[in-house]
Symmetry: C2
Subunit: 332 residues, 2 copies
């Protein structure tokens, strides 16, 4: 086992905080190109595997039947900020398939941006299930159930056909039986499967370079990659890391964050998949770790390298007080 992923947070002359994690860079055949820490560890991918979970939706034919497009595929892969375009697109999508927000089983939480919260308050409105960061993924689940003529109720349960299909796809992509994975309940209510980090990275590699997959899987993976780059705003939202990177690297990288410090990425030009888990669950560190790996692998746009890999730490009045960075002990 090699050294860990380490991200430092400085303030003035001091390293104030540090984050440790694990990372794997893997080929579609499972060969490990690079790794840090114990990549056999079971981790919960949380939302980082939404691109994998979107496969069955895209494969179902529902995109064509209901006249859906890249924005909907990207939303199915997204943890969005609940901004107006996200919410309205989800609402219109559900209407297209004969459903509504009442069918979403993901629950309701506040939108991410203070501005959206204020906008709702000024209008005397409350957030609805469409504001949930997972509402696009859930709309994909519901749409797939409609497409196959299955009951939509309880589509979040482990044994519903929607969830069973996710495990079948996961098994095909990562080369390990996902039905054997232990699981917890995700924030949005669906099972989140405890997956070896290495297998998660392999699933990403399979989507990045799908020549080993069935035609159906390969075509879906290609469409998902295209949608993630084509609709980066739908992947996350204003100012978000996933939006910035997926916008900056069309055809080169498709990345997705997950709760509790997870990050996944497809690198089709290199034929590689990447998976990262920061042990402490810190999203800020997972972002810097993903940025650092993209830089390490040579795919970051030159003009944006410094700011992406060393994001500033600012205080309340906007003064630069420190930075985040990969530790020398990791990639130095």
């Amino acid at each position: 086992m090699s050294k860990s992923v380490v991200i430092e947070v400085t303030r003035g002359p001091v390293v104030e905080s540090r984050h440790e994690g694990i990372a794997a860079v893997v080929r579609p055949d499972g060969a490990v190109v690079a790794s840090w820490g114990d990549i056999d560890s079971l981790i919960l991918p949380r939302s980082a595997n939404k691109p994998i979970q979107a496969m069955a939706f895209v494969e179902s034919g529902a995109v064509e039947r209901f006249g859906l497009g890249n924005e909907h595929i990207a939303l199915a892969c997204a943890s969005h900020s609940g901004e107006r375009r996200h919410v309205e697109t989800v609402q219109a999508w559900l209407a297209k398939v004969g459903l509504s927000e009442a069918d979403l089983e993901c629950g309701t939480h506040a939108p991410r941006l203070q501005g959206t919260i204020e906008e709702l308050a000024r209008a005397g409105r409350m957030p609805t299930a469409a504001f949930n960061n997972c509402s696009g993924k859930h709309s994909g689940f519901l749409t797939t159930a409609v497409q196959y003529g299955e009951p939509t109720k309880d589509y979040i349960k482990y044994n519903h056909p929607v969830q069973r299909r996710l495990r079948e796809v996961m098994t095909d992509l990562c080369g390990t039986d996902a039905n054997s994975f232990p699981y917890g309940t995700d924030g949005c209510g669906i099972p989140t499967l405890a997956t070896p980090l290495k297998s998660l990275a392999r699933a990403m590699a399979s989507m990045a370079e799908p020549s080993r997959l069935s035609n159906k899987h390969a075509e879906a993976a290609s469409r998902i990659r295209t949608a993630m780059n084509a609709e980066p705003f739908m992947m996350a939202g204003t100012g978000r890391f996933c939006t910035r990177i997926n916008a900056a690297l069309p055809g080169v990288a498709q990345i997705k964050t997950g709760a509790e410090g997870v990050f996944c990425g497809m690198l089709p030009t290199l034929g590689l998949g990447v998976a990262i888990k920061m042990w402490d669950g810190a999203g800020r560190a997972a972002e810097v770790a993903m940025a650092s790996l993209l830089d390490h692998l040579g795919v970051l746009p030159a003009g944006q390298r410094e700011e992406i890999v060393h994001p500033p730490v600012k205080n309340v009045v906007g003064l630069l007080v420190g930075e985040m960075r990969p530790a020398k002990s990791w990639l130095g």
Copy 2:
């Protein structure tokens, strides 16, 4: 060096995330009663040393001169949520000393609670500097400058008399020259001194059991402890850990959180001080670590032990999906 502080976050059958840190339990003479990790490490106390920073304010005589009370002393020690009572008390306090929010140099950020953000938006108002979680501390700084006839401008600068006094008090309480500490800039603009964790715990012990201090210091420490328990809402706000614990343990514990995973506490009945730093900066873990130490030291109220030491992890719809807990490797 003994084993680390370790806090686990579970989800279903899996430990999803884990946090590591250091902790020291120290007597006023500096004797270490218990420690985990390298407690000579330099850490930035951030807001966890606000009770120490309130000493010079209380010692100045300004409390009597301006008719201030426990609520103001607690606010000087607080990282408050910017709720109505916090904000209005700060505004009235500044008026009493002939100043206003315009004199605060802490900057403005959004209040902590979504409800407060919504309330402001509905009223068409913007948050002001009084909403800054540090506005009580800064009001204490300004009041002390007024009391001593010093210029109030630039009271956040390292060489302003206000900041110099903080370092004098810190030196007296922790037994090490605080003028020699490196420093960064805190979120609210003041210097935050890189302090050995052991020294921070000793300063807490000196305030908990101040018989070794000067009468002036001892009296101020006693008044600050009283205020922290008497006005726990002013210490933080609705639902906050500092508010709950300071309310639940009058005369027994006075605790204060700081950004980036720091926690400090005074335990006067035991004559001890406690300081904790979680390396990853996670506040959720620092809370569970403080709860675990309070339990370990036998001072938690029996009826509340379970919920305080093992807080539930719930998902969006409120389902119990996991818990946080001290790892067996730490206190098991």
